[in-house]
Symmetry: C2
Subunit: 368 residues, 2 copies
């Protein structure tokens, strides 16, 4: 076992606090990573607070992890000590189901689906068809910590052109928006709408723009219209009915990144015939959709979950190539609870990234 330190919680109702715990040493196919930076994702908050009713405690969140390889197992061939690497939302999958065989591990249909970087398998033993946990671990601890041990196949390469702290949010916010933009074929000249302009939304806007699309972001926050202008995309207040009117039936693709239940009907009206609106932010029941508008123009409402390993490597390389990345604010881990509050209040511009070196200032660690 190796000693690990991080920020976590044992309950849904308490702040994150420093904890000391242990991790398994790297096996023959695993790499040990010194965590340098970890992005703060809205889903970390959902998970810590058990807002999806599936949190396994203790919870050490963090799935936008960039670090330096410090040790490799005997059979590791893809990464070497000293490499700057990334770990996203997954650290293992069943590897046998059809999606795994075709490189779509994020849709793993194994009995426990994929193993999340924190919170354990996506389908825990209690919900698995055979009542078992094929990963042998009910919980996993994420990147709000100083060290991570991950199978080499689930470790991404951070391109030289990307700063490690900028690369971190690409591992979730980046790929979660890149994957559907790619899957639904966004191409130069397309009109693309992005609903919600936070961590995911601002990455979606930058990626769609780099793909050659004309991008319009829809936001509830007036001062974000300036941010849209700064990124060179259109900005519209989503409650401004007069502004929405001329946009009716004009979008080739719309991506909703709002991380909670919302009304997508006003945006469905903005789609062209046969076009798709994809919802990636809210993993819960949405407000009722009026099928009249959907049927009258043969529209689609779809969803998408993060992205595959190959999508993740692609978006890292795409960002390096196009010179884009998230707008980040680096924080010490001691500020994490304040940062959570600001994310919830839509005050982040746009992604907090924890500098994990700050953990070294901590002297008093709790035990799980």
């Amino acid at each position: 076992m190796i000693a690990a330190k991080g920020y976590g919680t044992k309950h849904s109702f308490t702040d994150l606090k420093p904890y000391a715990f242990e991790r398994e040493e790297a096996g023959p196919h695993e790499v040990e990573i010194e965590v340098l930076f970890c992005g703060v994702c809205h889903s970390d908050i959902h998970q810590v607070k058990n807002e999806w009713s599936n949190t396994v405690y203790p919870c050490v969140p963090g799935h936008e992890v960039v670090g330096r390889v410090t040790r490799v197992g005997a059979h590791v061939g893809k990464h070497a000590v000293g490499d700057i690497v990334g770990v996203g939302c997954m650290i293992e999958s069943c590897r046998h189901c059809a999606p795994c065989q075709t490189g779509e591990e994020n849709y793993c249909e194994g009995p426990n689906s994929w193993l999340a970087t924190y919170n354990g398998p996506m389908v825990p033993a209690e919900k698995a068809p055979d009542g078992k946990n094929s990963y042998g671990r009910d919980n996993t601890f994420g990147g709000y910590s100083d060290v991570l041990v991950v199978n080499e196949d689930f470790v991404l390469k951070i391109p030289a052109g990307l700063k490690p702290e900028v690369a971190a949010p690409i591992l979730c916010a980046g790929v979660t928006t890149y994957s559907p933009l790619k899957h639904w074929g966004v191409k130069p000249g397309d009109e693309v709408g992005i609903v919600g302009f936070g961590g995911l939304g601002h990455m979606a806007a930058k990626l769609a723009k780099a793909m050659g699309a004309t991008v319009t972001v829809f936001t509830k926050t007036a001062d974000k219209l300036k941010e849209a202008a700064r990124l060179g995309v259109n900005g519209v207040l989503e409650d401004d009915k007069e502004a929405l009117k001329p946009l009716k039936s004009s979008f080739d693709f719309i991506l909703s990144t709002i991380p909670e239940k919302h009304d997508i009907n006003p945006f469905i009206e903005l789609l062209k015939r046969d076009a798709t609106m994809c919802v990636v932010g809210a993993l819960e029941p949405l407000k009722p959709v009026n099928n009249q508008e959907v049927a009258f123009h043969r529209k689609h409402v779809a969803g998408s979950l993060i992205g595959s390993l190959s999508d993740t490597q692609e978006v890292l390389d795409f960002c390096a190539q196009h010179g884009i990345g998230p707008d980040i604010e680096i924080i010490p881990i001691q500020d994490i609870n304040k940062a959570f509050k600001k994310v919830e209040d839509s005050e982040a511009r746009f992604r907090y990234v924890i500098e994990m070196a700050s953990l070294k200032d901590e002297t008093d660690f709790h035990q799980f």
Copy 2:
């Protein structure tokens, strides 16, 4: 003007009654049709009762019309006197928009969209961008009458192999289900689910089976399980959770034909990854969809509206070729109000078709 007789109503709250009225004579590009049979569609009931809040009164419903050509305008080239022909939901479209130019008139994006066989333009003047009605008619009278006058381009040919009374429901129930089955690429070996087993549902089941799919119908009505067996398709009670469990993630395409607000979540769970559930029955807000299931397997919820003229001709020919058609019960028009009640109570097996010769027994006609 020519004298016409039919069944209609001036209010949402009264039964259909016999009316005498006038129609324009056939213009140079129009054909006059003696109506032989007209199917009874659930949407006739919605429209008569103003359940979509858009009914133009007086209302003479009927858009599954089969008849004999009795007169043709000077420039008509497609049809001749004596031909057995059909008229579905549309009798005109703008002919200039992109969907009209590519043969998808049912998605006409002209200022008034398409002109419905009854109830006038889909977008009335009051709702049109320019406040006008390009068709020059605020209302149209449908096939619950003895004569119809329609532009030749919107008149379909009834293949010799199809009885006129059997062909009638194909003009709406048939094409409304055929069009999405074709659009989403149903092919031999596919697992296809049909939700709702009434007029549309039983046509969908027959069509999907003839396309080579393995078909499962979901119904709330226990005695319809025997009907499913009779048609050679699987039948499942949609409230039977134990029966649904093994069907999870097993369908390539699911079509919902239920003509009112319902919960589609149990059926979304039955879709394979990347598959589509299309809702054609309910033209209103559905119950909230849980995006977690949609996103976790990148599923789609879509809608579809009837079908194009070419889809309509195709499904008529397809039915003739495969020897299939709706299960019908022929009624005299005097039974129409009873038939409406039975359709609402899910007691029809499966489609009522009015024999319009029965109108000749009527002696006392009201005036609009």
